[in-house]
Symmetry: C2
Subunit: 410 residues, 2 copies
Amino acid sequence: MGAQQRRSGLGTNQEAVRRHNLGTLLRHVHGTGQMSRAELTSLMGLNRSTIAGLVAELESLGISERATPAGGARQGAGRPSAGVAIAADGPCVIAVDLGVDRAVVARVGLGGRVLQRAQAPVPVGGEAWQVGASVAALIREVVEDAPAASPLVGIGISVPGMVRRSDGLIRLAPNLEWHDVSFGGIVLAALGLDVPVSLANDADLGALAEHTRGVGVGVDDLIYVSGQVGVGAGVIMGGHRLEGAGGYAGEVGHLRFDPGGRPCHCGNRGCWETEVGAHAIAEAIHCPPDKVAQLDEVLDGFDSPSPELCRTGTAIGHGLASIVNMFNPRLVVLGGYFRSLHQLVGPDIQAGLSDRALPAPLESVRLTLPGLGSDSALLGAAEIALEPLFVDPVAALGAALVDVRARLAG
Amino acid sequence: MGAQQRRSGLGTNQEAVRRHNLGTLLRHVHGTGQMSRAELTSLMGLNRSTIAGLVAELESLGISERATPAGGARQGAGRPSAGVAIAADGPCVIAVDLGVDRAVVARVGLGGRVLQRAQAPVPVGGEAWQVGASVAALIREVVEDAPAASPLVGIGISVPGMVRRSDGLIRLAPNLEWHDVSFGGIVLAALGLDVPVSLANDADLGALAEHTRGVGVGVDDLIYVSGQVGVGAGVIMGGHRLEGAGGYAGEVGHLRFDPGGRPCHCGNRGCWETEVGAHAIAEAIHCPPDKVAQLDEVLDGFDSPSPELCRTGTAIGHGLASIVNMFNPRLVVLGGYFRSLHQLVGPDIQAGLSDRALPAPLESVRLTLPGLGSDSALLGAAEIALEPLFVDPVAALGAALVDVRARLAG
């Protein structure tokens, strides 16, 4: 409700307040997986009876269950406050991390619990329908052990490319060579299911997941910069995802870096990606072209940084300086193969940044690795699929599918 | 309430709802200066009696008054819905636009009405206390005709530099040569008044004003790029001001533009500002250094663009391409001397942008001039000073000063 309310200047009425509070309470429990009523009372600024009513409603919806508080949670001398935990058979979502060389699929519950996962290679140069069929097969795999009572709220898909916010159309995924692909519809058709499906850019989802349950919890201004094959960023500012008019914000790989530099696949010359993208780095370290999609693994094989990698580290830092001047983030999370590079040439990255950023934004920014390892985008895909539950749990459950395993088998 | 509610996940109670609704209603009336109850009922999604109660409260606070609706506002066959208008003696604020060569001060009422204005040159190389004394004198001037009943809610100050969000400290105003200046406190001391004072960067305030009542009304994703002496940007994304961790977001003048370019005052080489800042342009057109702060007037004297200015236009477009790739705005508003440049070399700016931006964000972006002329930052300063009225009108009036003219005379 918050976003809509602020956008359109709507007033608030009793029923809207109740649904807002129910979703907000669930978002709190989702954050940590379990919470006491006393904590919820204090966090939400509502009285105990209101909280008790909301908790009872979530229980009756099968979303949460009563948890016995741990001894440590005892407050004062009275009875410990009863706990609220995510129900074991509660709602779940399917998260898909579509990479340029492989797809990872997971069934994920509230609290960000990965309940089942599977992965498979993505055929090089594969058509969207072929990749969609592979993803559908992985989805069938991860619902095999799903309890019949657990409703499927939706599917979230992380995409290595530009996704139109209005309808999830993949406008461009350069390294899959896809233009204007309705991948959500393709996956649903391959499954023969009708369930809400959401798509977003992988770096955007990495930022979202790190903000929700990774290294960026409690950090309102963070940027997740991801080296996959190309380079992109997901931006959270003031606690909100920065999306832009069409959903394409964060294309930092195409910042002007050196007007005399190399040609970029976008048609320009000297974009940042031509210096720090996977193809440029692979060339610098004489990595064979067919290994570019596994650049992180290749880099993990290095014992010590070569001079070429140190120069790459400096170039990463110089590009980050423009990003830091532009956004003034508190945290820059280095994802994808930038994780591996940070292990090797972290000091060069930091020095490049410190050399070039303005003092005021530099003093409060910190470079860090993802808290969720290589699962940031996957868990971000789960987050966007779960989101309707935090806006209006009742409506989201109404749109969910039950007995998914049987439906997919049939 | 909205922002706080979303940040901290607070629940909502009845009293908070009432204050939120009162402020939201006032924000609507502030937007257009006058509105019918029927429009408010429809905009806010509340019933007529709730709206009537809120309107009565605003009237009793002296903020609004009953307006006779124009004949055209008649709805259907019944009585026309009574109107709500800003009260003539209602609350006001002082807005200060501190430029590098002059200060403009205005008394501004709700609805963005400029009630009185004054301006004076800022002494070159002036100390902060000297400039503060000039600004205080201008403030005394603009309250001379203020009605005794009109409460002063606060002072808003637009600054050509980086302002720390937490306390309004001016960290750096390069062209005033100020570092770490508490200018708000200096102005209050010169006035001998204690009233809320807010400071923010001029481009940020330009963006805010253009979004509230300029060319960006209804546009949720816009960037106001301002050429003063340096170059900065104010960014509105998803309807919210992009501030960053410390309030320094939008320093687009220090985007890396050409690593082999000229030295920048920030210590780097080839920042965008070294190509499109006032000093670079003045040099290109052989404008004397003492006219740099009036570059807009110098440019307005050109009949046709010189080849140097065409090249500057292209460089502006190339820099805007990085900004468009990064933010995916719907609107880019060209403020400061970029207004004059757009009249001269608009096609070169557009061509530079179109050549270098990615197709997806390019297709939805439009370059435009400010709707508020050279008053964007001034009116933005009024907006931040008025803001407490839209969060909680009762509390904001409690903190306001009455009979300001007499207090300043005494």
